[in-house]
């Protein structure tokens, strides 16, 4: 059962990373903000100004 739970945790963590939820959580932690409209807007401002632009393959 613990293996199943571990696999489920990893799957959820993977989805959170793919869907930027983990990045947003790290942003909140780093900037010591609570989740809000303003925080999410700041998160996107940072992402757009970043040189790290996610690529997608063909």
């Amino acid at each position: 059962m613990s293996h199943v739970a571990k696999a489920a945790r990893i799957l959820l963590a993977t989805l959170r990373e793919i869907f930027d939820e983990a990045a947003y959580a790290r942003f909140l932690l780093r900037s010591q903000m609570a989740s809000s409209q303003a925080a999410y807007a700041a998160f996107w401002r940072e992402r757009e100004s970043s040189h790290e632009r996610r690529s997608r393959c063909c």
């Binding site: 990893i10 799957l11 963590a13 993977t14 989805l15 959170r16 990373e17 793919i18 869907f19 930027d20 939820e21 990045a23 947003y24 959580a25 790290r26 942003f27 932690l29 780093r30 989740s35 809000s36 409209q37 925080a39 999410y40 807007a41 998160f43 996107w44 940072e46 992402r47 757009e48 100004s49 970043s50 790290e52 632009r53 996610r54 690529s55 997608r56 393959c57 063909c58």
Partner: protein, 680 residues
């Protein structure tokens, strides 16, 4: 596992691989089960990962678990983050798996199932996975540098310049080809057009929900968006059956092309959180689910392959695209075997998340194997169709004839029997008005996928829903690529323009955004329009152009990799990167030569221009002649650029090997890891 057990187990896997590949290669006559393909792929990929990637990791790259990665050394909670290896693997796979491994193998199925299958198996294990793996590791050892930076530093300034130019050119061509695939999938299809149109307000709704209502709850809103998309598919059926609504959503190829061009411009200029990001989330959600579903469907239902192992079109007279198996099968299937585009992804986010060097093997090599498995699924989906049906869907009217009767007579005359009534019944079953001349690969893949699922899940009654689910899944993929690709090229051009006038580089300055967006959309829109108006269906000229450009980028990446391998004093293992490089050079240069100079008007751009000039003139003739000459010039430029990189690389290798030049690399110095075993 003890050594004896290991030998027995891997010996059995090798024997099974040999048996399955042998059956796939030798069997002729009666249809064979898709399980043989699945077993051949599973065993070959397992062997490749277990032995070949381990050999590369140990002998060439000397992966060092004690060497701190940039994710650890530069951890900032933003770009550089130590991440669980399975999470990085999933993230990397989601980034590299686009529509390419679905569309290319479907088009290459005109040669039969065997050439594509063998190329995917061998190409992935010995070329594609190697490229992804070594480039990822070299990027990790250079703090996540890009392929253009690595090419400039390790090969020379020409390498960097060519890599930069190739990236922009490839992106523009791929965006045009991808848009053309969507146009061909949606033309004359009110159901499909309605469903895809609905994904735009759904994405906007998701964007507003994320921004205003539940900030950051992406998984939650993706599930919500997915349910709305399913509702849109169901609603599309109602639209197609309601004459007044069906009229509104039944569009010709040229109208769809204009709408996609306008959409591309809007998506590039709108704030990323509003349309691009939600659509990307939705597309990824659907993509991961649909790929998993298809994998389960193929393994559980294992339908028979009706396409012959090798068709008569191996001689180069194929209707889907012109050209012989060599070199065209190898540029038609790029993603799935080897794709230069991956060298861009391998140096994006992934190297900044890897906790240990040793994990690059699973993420780089293993991630590409997963994509190759997707390509095998696409070959399966195309080849479970009756060959006559496959060719009726994928052949342009300019080749097989304008009417159903003419088309079926031509195709039946090739030895692939199909009737107009059979095609009409199939079109009716999937909710389309016609399935003739639906070039581009997406409709054939969708019919194949619907065919597989209709064998168990709901039967033929729900075939239309499955078909449109597959079309929606591919179109969503492609439109996400259009959004992200247009924006990516825009950033690259803005970066370059900032050296001329600094404000042009600001990604939030609207005059710059609008100008550069218009230039990029105009560029891929031009090629899209060219494809829509091409009497041979567009795919015939544009897909090879994309394939050549993509594989040439892979050649640039392998030049950089070979240079680094030589500088690492691992010259005795240099064939690992040199053989794929030599193969790609042979394939792409031959393909380019034939596409430019072959005397067959169906194959050579210049011969087609000449044939058009000699034939009866219409209003479109001057433009068609110009387009063919433009394609020829573009292909020639690609080849010259890569030849320059190749020459510069070879000169560098000779200088290093003869001792005339110091083998100096730009690696980050070794730093001991501080990570405990559990964290990595």
């Amino acid at each position: 596992m003890s050594r004896f057990v290991s030998i027995v187990v891997w010996g059995a896997v090798a024997a099974l691989a040999a048996l399955a590949v042998g059956v796939v290669a030798v069997h002729r006559g009666e249809p064979i089960s898709t399980l043989w393909l699945v077993v051949a792929a599973a065993c070959c990929f397992a062997l490749g990962f277990r032995f070949y990637s381990k050999f590369i990791a140990a002998k060439i790259l000397a992966l060092d678990a004690l060497r701190a990665t940039p994710a650890e050394r530069l951890e900032n909670g933003r770009d550089f983050v130590v991440t669980n290896k399975w999470v990085v693997f999933g993230h990397h796979f989601a980034a590299i798996a686009g529509p390419g491994p679905l569309v290319g193998p479907v088009l290459a199925a005109q040669f039969g199932y065997l050439p594509g299958t063998l190329w995917v198996l061998a190409g992935a294990v010995f070329a594609g996975c190697v490229q992804d793996f070594v480039i990822l590791l070299f990027s990790v050892r250079r703090d996540g540098k890009s392929i253009t930076e690595m090419a400039r530093e390790e090969i020379g300034r020409v390498g960097g310049f060519v890599a930069y130019g190739a990236v922009i050119a490839i992106l523009i061509i791929i965006l045009a080809v991808a848009a053309l695939v969507v146009v061909n999938a949606l033309k004359g299809s009110p159901w499909g057009t309605f469903t895809i149109a609905m994904t735009i307000p759904i994405a906007l709704l998701m964007g507003v929900y994320l921004r205003r209502i539940r900030p950051g709850k992406v998984l939650e809103v993706s599930v919500f968006g997915f349910l709305l998309v399913l509702l849109a598919i169901w609603g599309g059926q109602w639209v197609s059956q309601t004459p007044s609504m069906a009229r509104v959503f039944t569009l010709q190829a040229s109208s769809l092309a204009m709408l996609i061009i306008v959409y591309g411009f809007a998506a590039s200029a709108l704030p990323v959180w509003l349309l691009l990001a939600p659509r990307d989330y939705l597309s990824t959600f659907v993509k991961l689910g649909a790929i998993a579903l298809l994998a389960v469907g193929i393994v559980v239902l294992h339908p028979a392959l009706h396409m012959p192992a090798v068709t008569r079109f191996a001689d180069g007279t194929g209707p889907v695209f012109a050209g012989k198996i060599f070199p065209f099968a190898f540029i038609t299937i790029a993603c799935g075997a080897i794709s230069g585009f991956h060298s861009l992804i391998s140096i994006g986010t992934t190297p900044k998340l890897i906790a240990r060097e040793t994990q690059t093997r699973m993420v780089g090599y293993g991630g590409m194997l997963a994509e190759a498995a997707v390509a095998i699924m696409a070959i399966t989906a195309a080849c479970v169709l009756q060959p006559g049906v496959y060719f009726a869907i994928n052949s342009p009217a300019g080749v097989v004839g304008q009417t159903p009767v003419a088309a079926t007579a031509t195709i039946s005359g090739w030895g692939f029997p199909v009737t107009a009534s059979e095609m009409q019944a199939l079109a009716h079953a999937v909710g389309e008005q016609t399935l003739f001349n639906r070039t581009g690969g997406a409709p054939a893949f969708a019919v194949g996928m619907a065919h597989i699922f209709s064998q168990s899940l709901g039967g033929e009654k729900v075939m239309g829903l499955w078909y449109h689910f597959a079309v929606m899944f591919e179109a969503l993929f492609i439109l996400s690529l259009l959004d992200a690709g247009t924006r990516a090229v825009r950033f690259m051009i803005q970066d370059a323009l900032s050296h001329i006038y600094q404000p042009l580089g600001q990604t939030s300055w609207y005059p710059s955004i609008l100008t550069t967006s218009a230039v990029i959309v105009g560029a891929w829109g031009y090629f899209l329009w060219q494809g829509v108006k091409d009497p041979l269906g567009g795919i015939n000229s544009l897909w090879p152009l994309f394939g050549i450009a993509n594989q040439l980028l892979a050649a640039v990446a392998l030049c950089a990799a070979t240079t680094i391998v030589i500088k690492m004093h691992r010259t005795k293992y240099v064939l690992v990167t040199l053989v794929p490089l030599a193969w790609l050079v042979a394939v792409t240069f031959t393909a380019a030569w034939q596409k430019v100079l072959d005397r067959d008007p169906h194959l050579g751009f210049l011969a087609q221009a000449q044939a058009l000039a000699a034939g009866p003139a219409t209003a479109a003739t001057p433009r068609l002649i110009f387009n063919n000459r433009l394609d020829a010039a573009l292909t020639a430029v690609f080849v010259v650029m890569v030849a320059m990189v190749l020459i510069e690389s070879v000169r560098g290798w000779i200088a290093v090997l003869s001792g005339r030049k110091e083998a100096r690399m730009k690696e980050t110095p070794f730093v001991m890891t501080r990570l405990v075993e559990g964290k990595a």
